[in-house]
Point group: C2
C-alpha cells in the first residue's frame, strides 16, 4: 500500500549536539565545503541545492549559512515566487529548468517546484490527475539532471506547529521583519495538519534513489546549518566518486509509431507551378485564419525543422511564417551552443526558448542535434546520446501534456541534389554566405548521418509527436506538404 511511510509525521531526528561539538563540527564542515568547491569547479559538476520547508522555518538563513564559504563566482541564489502571468503561460517545469546551474557551479533555490505543487494542492486547486502528472514531470526532471551529471540535493526544513506559531508572532512584532511573514505562512500554521499530510505525500512521491530528500530539523538555526552542511559535503564527495561511473540507460517508455527508412522514401514527388501558386495562396489564407483562433484559444505550437544541409528548410519555414502574424510567432535558428549554454544540460537552451500559450515557436534545427551532430562529432559521450532519445521523448511529453501541438519535419533530399545546390550556392554571390566549409565536411559523412537520422526517426516518433518527412527535391512540393500538415494538426485541436 502506498503512503505508509510518513517522512515528516514519523520523523526521528538525531539529537542536537552540545554547543561545543556543534561549533567544532560547523567549522570543520565549512572548511570542507570551501575545499570541495574547488573540486566541483575542476570536475565541472553542476550542483543544484533545493531548500524547501515550512514558512518561517529559516530557508533563507540556511542558504546564507551554506554559501558563506563559497566564492561568489561559483554560486547563485534564486528565490522562486509564485509564477508570473508570463510564466504561467509556459509549461510548469519551464521556469524551474531555467534556473539549473552551470557546470562547476552551485545554484541554491529558496523553494521551487515542490512549493509550487504543494501550495496549489493544499488549497484544493489541483486534482489528483494533474497532481500525478506533476509528480511524473518532477521525477523525470530530477532524473534527467542526475543522469546528466548534476548533483541534486533536496532539503526540507521541518518545524512543529508550535514553533512556527512562535516564529510568526516574533516576526510580526518588529516593523523591519514584518514583511517576512506572508499570508501563506499564516495560512499554513492554521492548517498545519492538512499541510503536513500533503507535504508527506509529496516527499514520498518524489523520494528517488538519485535525488533523495533530506529532512532538516530546523528548530535551531545553527543545528540546521550543520545538518545541511554535512549532508551537502557528503553528497558532493559521493558525486565526485561516482562521476566516472556509467549512468544506466532508460528504455523508452512512450508508444512509438513505425516509420520508413530514409532510403525507402520516394523523392520524385513534384507539383506544377500553377497548382503550387494556387495551393500556396489557399493554404496560407487558411493558416492565417487558424493562427487567429490559436491565439484566442491560447494553444501553444512547437514546430521543429531538421534536414540535410541545402534541403530547403529556410524557404519552407518562410512559406509558413508568411501566413502568420509577426506578433504571434518566433523562429529560433539553432547554431552551436554558446559557452553559458554548453555549461548546462543540453535541453536548457530549448526550455528557455519555448513559446507562451497562443504562440508558435519554429526551431530551425533543434534538440535533435544531440543524436546527430553531437553524436557523430563526439561532442557528447555514447552514453549521453543513447540516453537522449528517451530524454527528448520526455521533453516532448511535457510539451504535449501542457497542451502544445508538436510538429516535427525531416526535410529529405538525396545526395546528388545536395551537390547540385551546394554548387549553385558556391557560384551565386548572394547565396555564398549560406555555404561553409563545414557543410562540405558534413557532406562527406553522409552515410554516418543517414544511419543516425534513421535511428533518430525510429526512436523519437512517439504517438504524440511523430516525425513528418518532407520530400524536398521539389521544394515547392515540400512547402505545400508542410503547410497541409501544419493546418491539419492545428485543426485537430481547434
Amino acid at each position: 500500500m502506498k503512503g505508509e511511510s510518513y517522512m515528516l509525521k514519523n520523523v526521528n531526528f538525531t539529537e542536537k549536539p552540545e554547543e561545543d561539538e556543534l561549533k567544532a563540527r560547523l567549522k570543520a564542515a565549512r572548511e570542507k565545503l570551501a575545499a570541495l568547491q574547488m573540486q566541483i569547479k575542476e570536475h565541472k559538476i553542476p550542483v543544484l541545492v533545493l531548500v524547501e520547508g515550512w514558512g518561517t522555518a529559516g530557508k533563507g538563513s540556511l542558504i546564507g549559512q551554506m554559501i558563506q564559504n563559497i566564492d561568489p563566482r561559483f554560486f547563485k541564489v534564486a528565490t522562486m515566487d509564485s509564477p508570473t502571468e508570463e510564466e504561467s503561460r509556459k509549461p510548469f517545469l519551464c521556469r524551474h529548468f531555467a534556473k539549473i546551474p552551470e557546470a562547476g557551479k552551485f545554484m541554491f533555490l529558496d523553494s521551487g517546484w515542490m512549493d509550487e505543487v504543494v501550495r496549489t494542492r493544499v488549497h484544493g486547486e489541483m486534482d489528483q490527475k494533474i497532481y500525478e502528472q506533476r509528480i511524473d514531470s518532477i521525477r523525470r526532471f530530477e532524473r534527467q539532471l542526475t543522469d546528466n551529471g548534476y548533483l541534486v540535493m533536496k532539503f526540507f526544513c521541518h518545524i512543529s506547529e508550535k514553533e512556527q506559531k512562535k516564529r510568526i508572532e516574533g516576526l510580526l512584532d518588529d516593523i523591519d521583519t514584518r514583511w517576512r511573514v506572508s499570508e501563506n505562512d499564516k495560512w499554513q500554521n492554521k492548517h498545519y495538519e492538512k499541510c503536513l499530510s500533503v507535504f508527506d505525500r509529496y516527499l514520498e512521491d518524489t523520494n528517488t534513489p538519485s535525488a533523495p530528500w533530506y529532512i532538516i530539523d530546523a528548530r535551531s538555526r545553527k543545528w540546521a546549518a550543520l545538518q545541511a552542511l554535512e549532508t551537502l559535503t557528503q553528497g558532493i564527495e559521493i558525486a565526485l566518486q561516482n562521476q566516472s561511473l556509467a549512468v544506466p540507460l532508460l528504455q523508452n517508455v512512450f508508444p512509438l509509431v513505425k516509420m520508413p527508412k530514409l532510403s525507402e522514401i520516394a523523392l520524385d514527388l513534384a507539383i506544377e507551378e500553377s497548382e503550387y501558386k494556387e495551393e500556396l495562396d489557399k493554404l496560407q489564407n487558411q493558416l492565417k485564419e487558424l493562427h487567429n483562433r490559436l491565439y484566442r484559444k491560447k494553444v501553444p505550437v512547437v514546430i521543429v525543422y531538421e534536414g540535410w544541409d541545402a534541403a530547403g528548410k529556410g524557404g519552407n519555414i518562410k512559406r509558413i511564417t508568411e501566413a502568420l502574424d509577426p506578433r504571434g510567432f518566433e523562429v529560433h535558428p539553432i547554431a552551436s551552443p554558446e559557452p553559458h549554454e554548453k555549461a548546462r544540460h543540453y535541453l536548457w537552451r530549448f526550455w528557455t526558448r519555448l513559446p507562451k500559450t497562443g504562440h508558435i515557436a519554429i526551431f530551425d534545427r533543434s534538440w535533435y542535434g544531440r543524436v546527430m551532430v553531437e553524436r557523430l562529432e563526439g561532442f557528447c559521450s555514447e552514453n549521453d546520446w543513447k540516453r537522449a532519445y528517451n530524454e527528448m521523448n520526455e521533453f516532448e511529453k511535457e510539451l504535449h501534456d501542457w497542451g502544445a501541438v508538436i510538429i516535427k519535419f525531416w526535410v529529405q533530399i538525396d545526395k546528388d541534389t545536395q551537390l547540385e545546390r551546394f554548387t549553385d550556392r558556391q557560384n551565386t554571390p548572394e547565396k555564398r554566405w549560406k555555404i561553409t566549409d563545414e557543410d562540405w565536411r558534413n557532406r562527406e559523412k553522409w552515410d554516418a548521418y543517414e544511419m543516425a537520422v534513421n535511428e533518430m526517426i525510429q526512436k523519437t516518433s512517439t504517438s504524440y509527436a511523430p516525425w513528418h518527412i518532407l520530400e524536398s527535391v521539389d521544394k515547392k512540393y515540400a512547402r505545400i506538404k508542410a503547410l497541409k500538415i501544419v493546418i491539419e494538426e492545428l485543426q485537430k485541436v481547434l
Copy 2:
C-alpha cells in the same frame, strides 16, 4: 516657443500612388531590402525598427510586411506589453534596452518606450517633471545606440479618428478578431484629440537628427507598407554609407568631483587585528539591519568593484555579502563577454543584470572594462572608449534617477604588493586557480593601466556616483573602510 511644429496635426501626406505603381514599387522595395539584409549582416550593423502608432493602425501587419523578405535568422519581432510587476521594479529603460538587436540583425518592436510614456501621460498619471526625465532618458538611449553604430528607425502609424472608429467596429464584429481590440484602443478613440496632443508633443520632443520620426499614412495597408519599406531601405543605405564616418564625441554634461591621482594615495594605512575583529562584527550587524530596511523600502543598490589583480576584491566583497540575506543580493562576476553579448551595445549585459528595487547587485568588475582592458587591448576603437566616459555617466544617471544607491570602489595596491600576492598564489596549490598567464601579462602593462585608471576616475566621478578608493595593502583596513562607506551611503537614503 516650443511646441509650434505639430508633426501629426499638421501632417501633409504624399498622395497614395495608383494601384499599378504601388505594386511595382512594393516589389522593388522588397527586393532591395532582401539584398540589403546581406550587407547589414556583412557590415555587422544592428537595426532597430520601432513601430509606434494609434491602436488598430496596423502596426503588426506593417511589421509583417517588412519581415517578409528577411531571412528568419536575421530578425526578431517583439511586442511590448505593459510592464510586468518584475519589470516595473527595474529602471524604465531596462526592458527596452534588453531588446536591442545583435550586430548584423534586425529587431522589430511592436510599440515600445513611446507607447509606455504616452499611455501613462495621457491618463494623467505622469507629471511634467517625470515626463521630462523620461524624454531625457529616451534621447540619451537612442543617441547611445546611434553613436554605437545602431541604425534606429522610428515609425509612427497615423490614422484619423474616423478611420480608427471604423476599424474598431470592424474587428469587434468577428469573434476571431475581437481580442485584437484592447480597452486602450477604445479609450484612445474616445479621447482622440487629447491623445493627438500628447503624441505630437512626444514626437517633437524625441525627433532627433540621428533618430528622426517617420510618420506613416496608415489608411491603406499596402500604401503603409510601401512607405515603411522605402524609408527603411533608404535608412539602411545611409547607414551603410555613414558607417566609416567618425561619430562626434559628446562632452561630459554631469558635475564631476575632483579626485586624487593613484600615485598620490597613501598606502600605509592599516588596522590592528583585535580592532578589526570588533569593527567587522559591529559593522556587519549594522549592515544586516540596514538590508532589512532597504528591502522594506524597496531601494535598489548597485555596488561596483574595480581594482588591480590580487588587490583583494573577492575577500572585500565577501565581508559585505556575509552580512546580507542571500535572497536580497546577487554578485555578478564579470568576465569577457560571450558572443551574444559582444554582438550588442557594451552596456547591454549590465542593463540586463540590474537588481530589482530592494535588492543589491554587486559587480565584481563592471562596465568600466570599456575604458581599461578594452581600451588598452584595442577591443574597441579610440572613438568608442573616449565616448564611453560620458555614456557610463549617463548610464549611472539613469540608475540614480531611478532611486538607486550607486557605490563604486577602486581597490588600490602598489606594484610590489601585487608581485608578492601573485607569487603567493603561484606557490599555494589551493590558490593557484586564481592566477593566470593573463594576470602576468596585464602586470607588465601596469603603467598604461595606471594612466587609464587615473583618467577613468577623474572622468567618471560624478556627484551622484563618485569613486571611493580602498587602500588595500592591508586588506583588513580596506574591508572595514568599504563596510563603513556602504553603511554611510545606505543611511543617507534610509
